[in-house]
Symmetry: C2
Subunit: 203 residues, 2 copies
DNA sequence: GAACAAAGCAAGCAGTCACTTGCTTACATC
DNA sequence: GATGTAAGCAAGTGACTGCTTGCTTTGTTC
């Protein structure tokens, strides 16, 4: 890892810890194990460094996609939800800081937006396909159903560390409940396989 | 409004705008229309002032309660959701800052926690009553269902300003969808009155 | 009108911030 | 061994931070 990357990583970490104002160039340089002057020689300004650090952190976040041909909705949705949740949890601290500072640094929002937007379309597209294939029989709005689930997953990810007493169950158990509630909400009958597994676990 | 209250209000506003580090004593005093020295004479330190400002802001937030005897679930849940959402929207900027700074200022979290916790219990209690009265027929976990809805409402409130393109519909329309999805998820049949209203609107 | 408290005002303190300058060291290339 | 480049180091810039001090003004109470 060369100096540039060390600085980018350090900037992202320090930002996640203390936000923009708290992330002083001295501290970033120290965490990177680099002289402060080197920071300015590479990036010109704190602003440029932090922005690039967050951008590249956002770019690394490739997302899992839902299948084009739905087969077993509960299983597919659950593993998708777990993947998304894990990503959000991994950067929850950074996300909280970025959310709080969007008004002051709108460029930062850009980063956060990009990845999220596409996974929204992915999910609502999948729900629409469920309905089109006759797997979901209820009369529902796919976009609203998608924001309902994504919002809940997002809130859990950034809220769990902060208000732990609200989330008594573990992450996976919570996600399982969410997915089942959503499927029932849009009129997806539980598959025989899923039901059997559930009965088996309960016993 | 005496000077003390002016300072508290100004502190809360400035904090909501620029967070703890950004809320300088000079700026708070200026917004309050008061000399900076007066601030220290009243509260001793910036820390004490901001903490008290956030505490009293949190205390003002009394919440609407769900009825003990559920009668018309959709109507009751929707108006409850609207009330909660309005409160969250009103302080969304402050909430975003507080969420981002909890790790650095844990005392602040205390304020946010208090109100929220009780409305969680209120909602999950209501859902439980729905099931107990036989109004909700599905096999579901009331706590998970409650966090699902509250999480989605929370995410919408603090996310709408930030990622507006995700929320194409207005707040009320979104909440209506959320409530209907949840009710279907827990097996509440829509009342004849609600269905009639819906058909009427669609026409 | 004397006495008191609460406010304003001007100035300053020590510390931190982003950023700059001037100079030295280390290493690779030719 | 000369040259160029990337890094380190020490010091300092002006602006801003939370907070203090000393003094004056204002309004109220008796």
């Amino acid at each position: 890892m060369d100096i540039r990357d060390k600085l980018l990583a350090a900037a992202a970490n320090v930002y996640a810890e203390v936000g923009y104002r708290g992330a002083t160039t001295r501290r970033i340089a120290q965490v990177a194990g680099v002289n402060e002057v080197t920071l300015f020689r590479h990036f010109g300004s704190k602003d440029a460094l932090v922005l690039e650090a967050l951008r590249s952190a956002a770019d690394r976040e490739a997302d899992t996609r839902l299948p084009l041909e739905p087969a077993r909705p509960e299983q597919e949705l659950l593993s998708w939800a777990k993947a998304r949740s894990a990503k959000l949890h991994a950067s929850s601290s950074l996300l909280r800081k970025a959310m709080g500072e969007i008004e002051e640094h709108p460029e930062i929002a850009e980063c956060a937006r990009r990845g999220r937007q596409s996974s929204m379309q992915d999910l609502s597209g999948y729900l629409e396909r469920l309905r089109a294939r006759g797997l979901a029989t209820a009369d529902f709005d796919p976009t609203s159903a998608a924001t309902l689930l994504m919002g809940a997953i997002f809130a859990e990810a950034i809220g769990r560390d902060v208000v732990p007493e609200r989330y008594r169950r573990g992450v996976d158990a919570t996600l399982t409940q969410y997915v089942r509630l959503l499927l029932r909400a849009i009129g997806v009958k539980q598959t025989r396989r899923a039901a059997r597994t559930r009965r088996h676990r309960a016993a």
